[in-house]
């Protein structure tokens, strides 16, 4: 079984049809990038996979456990330090002892290169640091799948490359990663597969080099044109 299979998922929110039958799959250790214009339903797809939205139609199947999610604005718990954010679920959901949870959280923060900020409160973290703490928090429950919503949006090019390398490392260790992005360069460089989402459906899917370099599909071409004009 594939780590993630999304079949014909449809959803309306507030009377508006957001997803009209989305299908794609992700293999083990793969990084899948979902590209699309704003309002195309990218975030909603991730929320459906994360179990935050009820499906109207369709099916999502994945391995055992709950996907970990990294929100666009990180959504760290403001009253807890970085390490406490990572420890919360291991302590209260997995019921690890405080010392076990702390050990796990420390390892994750080290893996992501933010161990030196373990006792900082979220409001004092930089955007990149907060994102890495949020990834550590999502990884803490050892999820079968890691979801990232617009992880490149607030990063400068150097940080973007750091993020890509981090995700590549996680994928190499066996994680399956699905992320949404506007950034075709990032997808080209780090993703194994891209999914082009337009007006609630998948218009194209395949290898980044094929889809992003030689697309014949008008929606994909429009997307790339908009992205490069900087208005996506």
């Amino acid at each position: 079984m594939e780590p993630l299979t999304v079949e014909n998922v449809a959803l309306s929110l507030g009377g508006r049809e957001i997803l009209r039958g989305v299908s794609f799959a992700a293999g083990r250790g793969e990084i899948v990038a979902i590209l699309g214009l704003s309002g195309g339903g990218k975030t909603t797809v991730l929320r459906c996979i994360a179990g935050l939205e009820p499906l109207e139609r369709g099916r999502i199947s994945m391995g055992e456990g709950r996907p970990g999610m990294v929100f666009q604005h990180h959504s760290l718990f403001e009253h807890l330090t970085a390490i406490e954010n990572v420890m919360l679920a291991p302590r209260h959901v997995a019921r690890l002892s405080p010392s076990e949870a702390e050990k796990l959280a420390t390892e994750l923060l080290e893996l992501l290169g933010v161990a030196h900020r373990r006792d900082a409160y979220p409001r004092t973290l930089s955007g990149g640091e907060a994102q890495r703490v949020a990834i550590a928090r999502a990884m803490a429950m050892n999820p079968p799948l890691l979801l990232l919503d617009e992880p490149t949006a607030s990063l400068d090019p150097a940080r973007r490359s750091d993020l890509g390398q981090t995700l590549t490392r996680l994928a190499a260790a066996g994680s399956t990663i699905v992320l949404t992005t506007h950034d075709d360069e990032f997808a080209l460089q780090f993703a194994q597969r891209v999914v082009i989402l337009s007006e609630g459906t998948v218009v194209e899917e395949g290898l980044p080099s094929e889809v992003l370099k030689n697309s014949k599909h008008p929606a994909t071409r429009l997307l790339l044109q908009r992205v490069h004009e900087g208005e996506a």
Binding site: R66, P67, L76
Partner: protein
Amino acid sequence: MLTAVLLIAALTAQPPLRWGGDAEGGAPFVEADPRDPSKVQGFDVEVAETIAHGLGREAKFVQVAFASIDQSVARGDFDIGMSGVEDTPARRAALAATIPYFEFREVLTVRKEDRQRFRTMNDLRGRRVGTLGGTIAYEVLLNPEHGLTAVSYDDDVHPYEDLRSGRLDAVLLDNVIAARAERRTPGLVTHPEAVATGYYIAVLARENHALRDQVDKILRARMADGTLEKIYRKWEIWDDHQLRFFARSGGVLRGPGPDSREGVSQHQLIRYLPSLFRAAAITIALSCLAMALAVILGISIATGRVYGGPFIRGTLTVYVEVIRGTPVLLQLFVIYYGLAPVIRLPAFVAAMAGLGLNYAAYESEIYRSAMLAVPHGQLDAARTLGLSTLQSFRLVRAPQAFRVALAPMTNDFVALLKDSSLVSVITVVELTKQTQIFAANIGSWVVPGAICAAMYLMMSLPLSHVARRLERRWSH
């Protein structure tokens, strides 16, 4: 020609004699005329009219709360105050008082079945006895020799209702008031023996002594010529006591004169300080307990409104709107008097419940908006991590909402501390009420007011300070 006459008449006409009294006190003193509620009637009304007539002026009634007659006349709201105003040394010291025009007796009223058991003050040792606050009767009850619990009321109707319902064992008040209560409230009986004797007087501002002397002259003349007797007979308050009082009268009855004004002596201050401290303790205890109730209920209401289904949300919203949309005074009356036939709450418990239920509505709004202020993304994050709704509330939402709510909550506690003074209407003597009693007895607000204000500030300033510090620490 006619115009000129009218003009001269208008210029030479005396201004009306404005006299202040409390129509809420009711018959036979002053009450709204049932045939024309814009007019008042009663024996005090007719005495006032007799005085005005003697001065060649027209009597004009000014409504004033009974407890405020002295202060109002002193600051010039009206020329003369009367409606069962008692002759006391403090009053004579602070105001220009007339000669007494009526002798009353402080008498005990009890339930009929207690007629034999409770005959004298000695029989009431250890019992609860009610009366009007700031009166001679209240001073009598406070005398430690009697060893009873004095309960003070703001009006002279509710003591008798509480007597009938069993909250009190006796009421000590003027015989005129007792007779009326006996007629109105079945099951009560009044012992005729006088516990004390007092006199009704009229009061004027101190600088108005010339007018006072004229009024004295008129009152003496009307006692002598039978005018007052006729008025008293009409209102069925004439008895042998008045006959003897009139016979003795003629000015000799004047109490200690204004010269005896002693100011606030050290002695009086020391006498009242312990009771002020006790009252402050009651204010603190009441505020803390009411706030605890408000916090617990407020959290429950807010949680219900944020997490509950439509029915729970609707019910709680109605509760919050009704409580916030009606005066807390009304709520206190309903809980203490309105519920009395169903459940007879002790005054302190009723006060705590009233303030607690009222503040719960306000607290719940603070908690609700504090909960809504926690970004929804964090709740989504908690969900994706596998936290249950309860865990997400306990570990993520509540701790952050608490920080947002703490400063406004502390402000509300300071407000509650001050609002707790309202509970004197249901007989709880807290700091403000005790101060009022203190002020009434010494005839001045200056020192009692200053002490009272200082005590409130000592309670509220540290709280405000803590609120400001927490606000600073958590603002980001």
